[in-house]
Each structure stands twice: as C-alpha cells, then as structure tokens.
Symmetry: C2
Subunit: 307 residues, 2 copies
C-alpha cells in the first residue's frame, strides 16, 4: 500500500515525530556514537585533532561525544565510564594513565579503542602517533649542523611516553655526532606553560651557557617565549630557539620561531579512519601502529655559529 506509506510519511512530518535514540540504542546495543577523550579542552593541539576526528566520523554517520579529563587520572577513568554509559560504539582517546586495566576491559566488551598521541604497554589496540623520537632528532640535528655544541632541552614529564621519546631523540643525535650530553642541560617540565617559563630561566643559569634551546611542546614553548621577552637576550644572536606544535605561534613571535610541527589533521583523520574500519568489524592489520612524520620548520630563531 503506497498510499498508506505516504500517509504515514505525511503524519511523521506533521507531528515532527522523532525516533527515540535512547530506546533504539537500548534495543540494538548500538548508538552510532563515538567517544573521544582528550587530556584538556584548553589546548589547541588536542582540540584541533578532535575537530579532524569528527569530520571523518560524521561522513559515515557517526556522531561524537567529546570529553576531557583535565590531565587528571581520576577524571580520565570517570569520563571513560561516562562514555560507556552512553553506549558509545567506539572510543578514540589520548591516554594519561599507563594503567591498561580499564582499557582492556573496554576492548574485551568488543568496543574498539584507538589510542592517539601516546602509547600504553600491555594494551592490545590500534594506535596513531607521531614519530617523536625522530622529530627531536631532526630538530636537534639542525642545531648541531649549525655548529651548536651546548643545546638545552625542556622536556615533558619523565613518565610520559611522548616526553621519553622526544628526549631519546635528543640523546641519540648527540651520540650519533659523538657529542657529550650535559645532564644539566636537560630540564624536566610538566608540559604546562609555567614550567616552560621557569625551566627556560633555569637553563640560563647553567655555566657555560647553552647556545640553543629546544622546547618540546606547545604550552612550554609559550612559557619559554614569555621568558625570552623578559630578558635582554637577542634571538637568534645570543640564543637559538626551536619550539613545538603551533604554526600560528611561529608567525606571531618576532623573530619568527622555528618549530616542530605535528600533523594534527592527519592524526585525526587516520584515527577516525581506523576506528570506522573496526566498527565495520574489519580487523585487518590489527593492531595497527601508525607512526606519522612531523615537519621541521627552520625560521629566523635559529642561527649558525662560526667555529
């Protein structure tokens, strides 16, 4: 009965009837919703990735619930449970805690999880990250090639995966070029602006002074730039600087800042793509470990040293 169908369609329009997605999810165990969990909303690096994830998922009809955990391990678990409460079909997250327990539990419930940015041991799932080691290697190498012998590094927390990798790159390139690493030139921060600010000043207390400083994330780069502005240092004459992550920032400071650029768009797109594959029960290549390349932009904040 076509007539019947049409009448129903008309009625749906008139009463603007909407299916109750909760009831549907309850029945089908699928919500067509994906959970995305990041450390913090107030960080353009994270939110930019989220934006790109969303684009990929939306095209396939999946909506996204975005959560942050404010760099708080307790909140991380809480938000993860919140996403489960909402019966998300899959999760893309940047983990903070190294604990594999909860994540493995989720995976065992047949909810695919994609890790981004950071890796966790003992978790069997897809992961999309950046080649942090070589990102650092290449950045510091450019400084070495330009004749710098004392290169300071402001690195993240010792127990954070990306920080470990970025430090490894710094150390390995020193080794490869037969250079000593002066431990006093390695400063551990917490990836926040304030620590970039303070550690930069600490590096200026080291004797003999570094001729170049490499800062390994966006927030700490901000802090370092602020610290620079408060000194009388001329960049790059007195000190060469390489920062991290934010393209706009590089153009805003003067002289223009050299930076390591992470492929935020690609991270988001690839993560979304893999998750969509898993949601279609396509397990080919599982567990995928995608390691994306960074780009190094050398601008005016780096100079060569005559020897």
């Amino acid at each position: 009965m076509d007539k019947n169908k049409q009448a129903i369609e008309a009625a749906i329009q008139k009463l603007d009837f909407k299916v109750n997605e909760m009831a549907r999810a309850l029945k089908t165990n699928r919500s067509m919703t994906v959970g995305v969990l990041i450390p913090n909303f107030e960080n353009i690096f994270f939110t930019s990735i989220v934006s790109n994830i969303e684009n990929g998922l939306l095209q396939e009809g999946y909506s996204t619930i975005v959560c942050d955990y404010k760099e708080n391990p307790l909140l991380e678990a809480e938000k993860l449970n919140f996403l489960l409460d909402k019966m998300v079909d899959g999760i893309i997250m940047m983990p903070l805690t190294d604990s594999d327990e909860l994540i493995n539990e989720i995976i065992s419930k047949d909810i695919p999880v994609i890790l981004i940015d950071r890796m966790i041991n003992n978790v069997n799932c897809d992961v999309v990250l950046v080649d942090n080691l070589n990102a650092s290697y290449n950045a510091v190498e450019q400084l070495i090639i330009r004749g710098h012998k004392r290169i300071g590094i402001i690195v993240g927390p010792e127990d954070v995966y990306t920080a470990q990798e970025r430090l490894k790159g710094y150390i390995r390139v020193h080794e490869d070029y037969g250079r000593e690493v002066d431990p006093r030139l390695i400063k551990y921060g917490d990836y926040q602006m304030q620590s970039g600010y303070e550690l930069f000043q600490e590096l200026l207390q080291v004797d003999p002074l570094p001729t170049a400083i490499y800062v390994t994330n966006y927030e700490m780069t901000l802090g370092a730039v602020i610290a620079i502005n408060e000194t009388n240092l001329k960049i790059p004459e007195d000190l060469s600087v390489i920062g991290f992550d934010n393209l706009a920032l590089a153009r805003i400071v003067k002289p223009s800042l050299s930076i390591v650029v992470q492929p935020m768009q690609q991270i988001g797109e690839v993560a979304a793509q893999i998750l969509l594959k898993r949601l279609k029960k396509d397990l080919s290549g599982f567990p995928a470990v995608v390691r994306l390349k960074t780009e190094l932009l050398i601008r005016d904040s780096v100079r060569s040293i005559e020897t």
Copy 2:
C-alpha cells in the same frame, strides 16, 4: 536484613555490575547530562568557557556532552538535535543563527536553555554575556585620551551580535568625545585569523593613516599581529594596537600587547550555576540576563600622542 544487603553489595562489586544509564534515562526522562554547544573546538576562548562550565556542573553530579558546529548553521541545528537525542536535561550554547525556532521548541519541551556570549531576539531564556559595548567603549576611550584621533577598528560580521555591540561602543565613545567617525577606518571581518591579517593591511592603505588600531576578537588579533610582523612598523611608535581576549598572547608578542580580557571563567561558572538552578525547577528571576564586565589591560603596545 542487613546481611542480605551486604551480600548484594558484595555481589555488585564482584560482578562489577553497572546500571544501564540508557534504560534509566528512557524510563525517567532524565539523563543527568547537560549539552554544551560552541561554535568551534579550535578556539581557546570557547573551549576555556566549556572547561569552566564543566567544573560547575560536575560538582552537582551532572555530566557534560560537548559539541561544536564549526561555525556552520546547518551543523548547529544538527548538533542541537543530537543533544536532544541524547536526552540532555539542559543546554548551554553559543548560538550562531538568529533563528529562534529550534531553540523555542526546545524550551517548550521544558528543557532549559542558557545562551552564552551571544543573544537572540524572540527567545525567552537565560543569557550570560559580556558587556561588549562598554568593553569597546573603554578600550577606544583610552586611545582617545592618549591623543589618538584616527582609530581604526577591525570588527566582526555585521550580523553577529557581539560584533554589533563592539562597534556600537566604538561609535558611541567617538560621539561622546565629539569626534567624527571615518567609515573608512571601520573594517568588517569574519572573526577569523585571515581576515584580521588582511584587514589590518587594508587599514594601512587608508589616507590619512590611523595612529591606532583596535581589533575585536582573538583570532583576528592573531592575524593582525602577523601582519604587523611583516611590516616595518614600530609598535607603539608608529602605531598603537589593542587586541582582544587572550592573556597569554599579550605576553608573547613584543612589545606586550594591550588587550580587552573577557572573564571566561566567570562566564562558564555563571552559566552553569543558572542552569543548575533551572534544573532544580527554580525559576526565580527568569529570564536572567547577566552582563559581565571585561577588563582592559593597557600594556606597551599603546602610546600617547603629543598634540
């Protein structure tokens, strides 16, 4: 039977039983979840407010689903419907479209809506915003007091509430001081970085040149700073500049940038607080219109002109 109860508790622990929040929501028509909708994730001004909203709601046991609509009116409606699908108990949003239809429909379903940042006509709901008019008034007034006669403004889209208000303040302070407004010094942008960049350059083509430029949001301020870096202009000797919104930015550029600072924390907190009130069916003072004050930070990018 205390023993019984304990046994049940123990069993709950052992089987790590979890209530199905979907089923509960389906039955009770309450999800203990609030929807938050912002124009864009890639904007620290928006996401910072979100973060503060979340804090307020979490304390009262409400979780948050955060969505963005990428400045796209179609997506705005879509995401709003997504939030309704998730049976959110209330919504806090920054509207883009002026259309009152959908929002009124939501309100009529007894789901409280709090508007932030922007107002909409013909919608009867609480709203938390900033005194944009006087924010501009005060900023431009400081320039006038310092002897500036030709003050350029880079303002947002003509059809956006905040842009209208910020322009009104610019015009009113000119009137109050008996100054002509040169329409060539008013440039309409789209609140994005690129337009700040381009319009800044356009202002440098106006004859006679402005001695000061006031940029009315964060993204466009970024663009303006980049444009400055590409000229030979000395700030503030050749040109005074006042920007908008981002405190860190003000410290990063050199000379330090004068800015209008919006109370992001307060916006988020107040919006959360009002929504919580409404969720408790407390309708006192409805509809509340909270107009928060901005702060003006005069730094090194502004100078006095001798007359």
